[in-house]
C-alpha cells in the first residue's frame, strides 16, 4: 500500500506539473459534470446526464466544490488516485486468493503499480481507475464466495461492488451478467439444490443489477426514454455511426478486426514483454488441472476482453491504434486507454509464471522489468494512454480562442455548446454557474429565441448547435448583430460580446 501511495503521488505530481491531467477532452467533461451538480445555473442531480454512468462523478462532487480542485483537476486525481491505491491492495489480496503465495502476489501488485498507463490514468479524472477498483473488489469477494470462504458475506459484498461497477462504466454490466451465469454453473457443479441456487443468485443479483435498474429508471425519469444512454444523439452509438458513415469504423461487424484491435490495444497498455509473459501465464494456469477454479477465475479476470470485443463488433465503441488503423483515416489514435482494463488480469497471470520459481525469481523478474523499461526508453513502446491524450483524437482541443477568452473574459453569462467542446470552461476561468449550455433549460432554449436575454458572451464553433441555431439562421443572425459585437474571429470559432456590457 505504501508503494502504491508513493507511486500515486509521484505520478500525480509529475502529471500536474506537466499539464497532463486534463489532456483528455473527456477529463474536463468528467470534472464539469461533477461541478455542475452543485454549481450551475440549474444545479442538481439531473446535471449528471444520461450517457456516462454517474458514480465517478458523484465521488468527485464533494471535491469539485472547491474551485481550485476543480480547475486544476486534483478533484479527479484524488478520486482516481484513491481508486488506484485500493486497486493495488486488492490485487495483492486477489492474487493471494488465487495463487496462495505471498511473494508472487506481491509481484502481481508491483506489476500493476508500475504500469505507466495505469500510473497516468490514476492521475486524471478519467473513469478507468474507479472502475478497476470496483471490478477488483467485486472479483475478490466473488472468488472468495466461490472458494467457500464466508459464503453469505462474500456474496453480498461481491454484489455490492458489482453495483458500484455497474454505476461506473458499462463494462460493469457485462461483468455482473457473466458472474450471475458463472454463479449458477458453479453452484450446479457443487450439487446444490435448485432452491439454494435460486436464493444465492437472488442474493447476488439483487444488488448487482440494482444499479442497472436505477440507471434505466433515471433515463426514463429525466429523458423519458430508459435507453436514452444508448439511443440518444449524445450516445457513443450515435457518434460511432458518424464514423461508420465515413467508412472509418473498422471493427464494426468484423469479429477478427475487433479481436485484433482490442488485443493490440491491451498489449500496448500492458507492455509487450509483460503481455507475452502474461499470455504464457494464462495458458499455463488453464493447463494446470490442480488449479481448482481456474476456468471461473480466468473468465472473470479476462472479462473486459469479450466486453470490448462485443462492443467494437456492435459499433458501440471505436478504437484507433497506429499499428492497425489505416493511414487514410483522419485519426489513428483514439480510445486506446480501454486496453488498461486488461492490466489487472495480466499482472496476476504474469505473476503466476513465477509461482514455482525460487532462486531464479528475482533475476527473472528483473529481466522482464528491464526489458520492458528498455522498450519504453528506446522509443519502441510509448505510454499510449498518455499519447492519446496529447496527440490522439482524445486530446482536448486548445484553440487560440481559448487563450483569448481567458484574457478577455470579465463577467456575465456565456452561451456555449459545451457538448461540442468548443473551448475549455476550466482554462478560460469562466465560473461554471455562468455557463448556459444544453443542460441549463430554460436558459438554453430561451437564448435561441432571444440571445440577448441572458448571455453577455456567445461562443460558437462552426456547425455546433449555437452556430446552427443563431449564426446559420438569417433572422437570428440579424438579431445577434443587433445586440452583440463580434469580438473574436477565427476559421472555426467566433466570439460575440453584448453591446454596452
Amino acid at each position: 500500500m505504501a508503494l502504491a501511495f508513493v507511486f500515486s503521488i509521484f505520478s500525480a505530481l509529475f502529471c500536474h506539473l506537466n499539464d497532463f491531467v486534463i489532456a483528455y477532452g473527456d477529463a474536463e467533461s468528467h470534472l464539469n459534470i461533477a461541478k455542475r451538480v452543485i454549481s450551475c445555473l440549474t444545479p442538481g442531480l439531473a446535471q449528471l446526464g444520461g450517457i456516462w454512468l454517474p458514480l465517478p462523478h458523484l465521488l468527485m462532487v464533494p471535491l469539485v466544490a472547491f474551485d481550485p480542485l476543480w480547475r486544476s483537476g486534483w478533484a479527479g486525481t484524488i478520486v482516481s488516485g484513491g481508486a488506484f491505491i485500493i486497486s493495488s491492495l486488492i490485487i495483492y489480496q486477489l492474487a493471494m486468493l488465487i495463487l496462495d503465495n505471498k511473494r508472487v502476489a506481491l509481484l502481481a501488485a508491483v506489476v500493476f503499480i508500475a504500469n505507466p498507463n495505469v500510473l497516468y490514468l490514476q492521475a486524471t479524472p478519467m473513469t478507468e481507475l474507479p472502475l478497476i477498483a470496483f471490478l477488483l473488489l467485486n472479483t475478490y469477494f466473488f472468488l472468495k464466495f466461490i472458494k467457500g470462504e464466508k459464503e453469505v458475506f462474500s456474496l453480498i459484498l461481491a454484489g455490492f461492488f458489482g453495483l458500484c461497477a455497474t454505476l461506473s462504466r458499462y463494462d460493469g454490466w457485462f461483468l455482473v451478467a457473466l458472474e450471475a451465469g458463472l454463479l449458477v454453473l458453479s453452484l450446479v457443479k457443487r450439487g446444490q439444490s435448485p432452491k439454494a441456487i435460486e436464493g444465492k443468485l437472488i442474493l447476488f443479483a439483487t444488488p448487482a443489477f440494482y444499479g442497472i435498474f436505477l440507471w434505466l429508471l433515471w433515463n426514463f425519469l429525466i429523458f423519458q426514454n430508459p435507453f436514452y444512454f444508448t439511443n440518444s444523439i449524445f450516445s457513443a452509438k450515435s457518434q460511432q455511426m458518424a464514423w461508420l458513415a465515413r467508412n472509418e469504423l473498422p471493427a464494426y461487424h468484423n469479429l477478427g478486426l475487433a479481436f485484433a484491435y482490442y488485443l493490440t490495444t491491451a498489449v500496448a497498455n500492458i507492455g509487450l514483454i509483460f503481455s507475452l509473459a502474461a499470455g504464457a501465464g494464462i495458458l499455463l494456469y488453464l493447463w494446470r488441472k490442480e488449479e481448482k477454479y481456474r476456468l471461473i477465475v480466468a473468465a472473470i479476470l479476462l472479462s473486459p476482453f469479450p466486453f470490448y470485443l462485443i462492443s467494437l463488433y456492435l459499433g458501440q465503441s471505436v478504437i484507433f491504434i497506429p499499428s492497425l488503423t489505416p493511414e487514410t483515416f483522419e485519426w489513428r489514435l483514439f480510445n486506446v486507454r480501454y486496453g488498461v482494463m486488461m492490466v489487472p488480469a495480466s499482472s496476476i497471470f504474469f505473476a503466476y509464471l513465477f509461482k514455482k520459481t525460487k532462486r531464479l525469481f528475482l533475476p527473472l523478474v528483473g529481466l522482464f522489468f528491464l526489458s520492458q523499461i528498455f522498450l519504453y526508453l528506446s522509443g519502441q513502446a510509448e505510454v499510449i494512454s498518455l499519447s492519446d491524450g496529447l496527440k490522439g483524437l482524445s486530446s482536448a482541443k486548445k484553440p487560440d480562442a481559448q487563450n483569448w477568452l481567458a484574457q478577455h473574459y470579465d463577467r456575465g453569462l456565456v452561451l456555449l455548446d459545451d457538448y461540442a467542446r468548443t473551448l475549455s470552461v476550466i482554462q478560460t476561468h469562466i465560473p461554471m454557474q455562468n455557463v448556459i449550455y444544453v443542460g441549463t433549460t430554460p436558459y438554453w432554449e430561451d437564448s435561441f429565441k432571444e440571445p440577448e436575454k441572458y448571455a453577455i458572451w456567445i461562443i460558437m464553433q462552426k456547425d455546433d448547435t449555437v452556430w446552427r441555431r443563431l449564426y446559420d439562421q438569417p433572422e437570428m443572425r440579424d438579431r445577434l448583430y443587433k445586440f452583440f459585437n463580434k469580438v473574436y474571429t477565427s476559421k472555426e470559432i467566433l466570439i460575440f460580446k453584448r453591446i454596452g456590457s
Binding site: P43, G44, L45, V152, F153, L155, I156, K195, A196, E198, G199, K200, I202, L203, T206, P207, Y210, L214, L221
Partner: protein, 515 residues
Amino acid sequence: MQSKDEIIPFPLELKRRKGRGFCFRGVEFVHHTNLPIAESAFFILSPTQKYILLVFLFTFLLSLLLNWHFTLTFLIGALTILYFADLIFNLYLILKSFINPPEISFVPKEIAGLDGRKLPFYTIFCPLYKEWEVLPQFVTAISRLDYPKDKLQVLLLLEENDEKTIKVARDYRLPSYFETIIVPHSLPKTKPKALNYGLKLAKGEYAVIYDAEDIPEKNQLKKACLAFDRVNEKTICIQAKLNYYNPHQNLLTRLFTAEYSLWFDLILIGLQSIHAPIPLGGTSNHFRLKALRSLEGWDPFNMTEDCDLGIRLAKKGYHTAMMDSTTFEEANCQPLNWLRQRSRWIKGYIQTYFVHMRQPKDFLHDWRNPDILTFQLVVGGKILSIFINPLMWLTTLCYFLFRPMVGQLIESFYPPAIMYLGVFCLAVGNFLYLYYYMVGCAKRGYFDLLKYVFLVPFYWLGMSLAGWKALYEIAYHPHYWAKTTHGFHINNQKATNQAVNIVGQQLVDRTIAVS
C-alpha cells in the same frame, strides 16, 4: 380525602390475600410486582410528557398558522434526516453482525462435557391462555430438553377463567417436574402479569420464558448455563434467537420468517456488538433469577413486556448477550391474527418508548455508551417509520404520477440538501431495508425465501395498518392484551410436515404427552 384519579396501593391484608396491586378509579389491578407506577405503562404518558406533547402540538399548530410552508418544510427535513440516520445505523449494525459477531457460540465438546450433577436448578415459565391444542407439543418439546429433569421446574401459568386449558392440563399425565399454576383472575389480564405471579413461585437459579408453541433446541438450557459462566455478573440475560418452524406455510409466514431472521440473526447481534440495550424477544430470554427479581419482574401493563424489560435492565447497568441457539415458534399464518398481534407489539413499543423517556437521564449511567441514542433509533425510530412510511411513499407516487399538478408544490418542500438526502433514502434506503431481509434469510439458510422478499413492501404496508390500529387501541384500550391464536399448523398437514423437517422430529411424542 383521596382523589378518584389517585393510585391506591392494596393494604397489607388485601395484598396478602390477592397479591400486590392497587385500586384506581374504583377498579382493582392485581399485578404481582413492586415495579413503581412511574416505571410502568399503566399510564401511557406522565404528566410532564403530556405537558411537553401539548406544548409541542400547540407550537406546531401555531407554526402552521403563521407559516405552513416553512413548518412542513422543516418537518419533512427533520424526518428525512431521521430516516437517513436510521438507514446508516442499521447498515452499521448489519455490517457489525457479520464482521465481528459477538453472539456466544459453543462447540459440541463443551456441551457434552457438562456434568449434569453440577448444573443449576432451572425454572421454565410458560404462560398459556386458551392454548390447550398446543399443550402436547409444548410438553414434548420441554421433555426433549437435554437437561436433568430433577433440576427442572416447569411452571404452566394458566388463567383462572381458562377452564378448558386447565381441564386439559389436569387430564394430562404431565411429567413430575411440571407444575400447573392457576393465576387468579384479575386485571390486567396480560402475559407479564401471569409471569409475575409465577416469579413468586420460581425456585431456579436461572429462569427462561417459553410460549406454548415454542420448540427450543434441545441443548438450549445447557448452552445458557455455559453462556452465563462465560459472561460477567452484570450480564443477567441471555437471549436465544427466535425463528419459525412453519416458514413455508403461506406467503405471510414466509415474510414473517424473513423479518425474524433479520431481527434475531442480524439486528440484535449488531446491537449486542455495540453494547446497546437489546429489546428482548418474547420468549427464550434466560435470566439470573435473583437479578430478575431485583428488577421487579415484568411490567404487567406493557404489551411488549420483553422489550420493556430489555431496556429497563440496560438502564440499571445490566447487560444482555445473544447466544447461538434457536427456539422455533409458530409464525402467524392468518392475516387478521397477524394484524392483531402486530398492533399489540406496536402498542407495546409505543408504551415502552414513553415509559423510558420519562427519565431520559437514567440512560446516562455510562457516558461512554450512548444508549439513549440507540433507544431513539431502535424503538422510537421504528415506531415513527411505521406511521411515516406510507405518507412518504404516497408523496413520492403523487410526485411522479401527478407531476404537472403537484410536482412543483412537492419540490418546494424539499430544499436541495434535503432533496438529495430524500432521494438517497428513497433509492438506496428502501432498497437496503428490503435487501436486509434477504441477508437475514441467507444467514439463516432460508435461500428459498429470498424471492418472496420482493413482496416485503406490502408487508410494510400491513405493519403501517397495524400501527394505526395500535394508536387507536392505545387511546381506548391501553391494557387490552389481544391474544394471538396459535396452533394453525396443527391442522395443516403440509405445515406440520415442514415443521417436522425443520425441528428434525415429530412435534408431538404421544408416549410423553399422554392424556
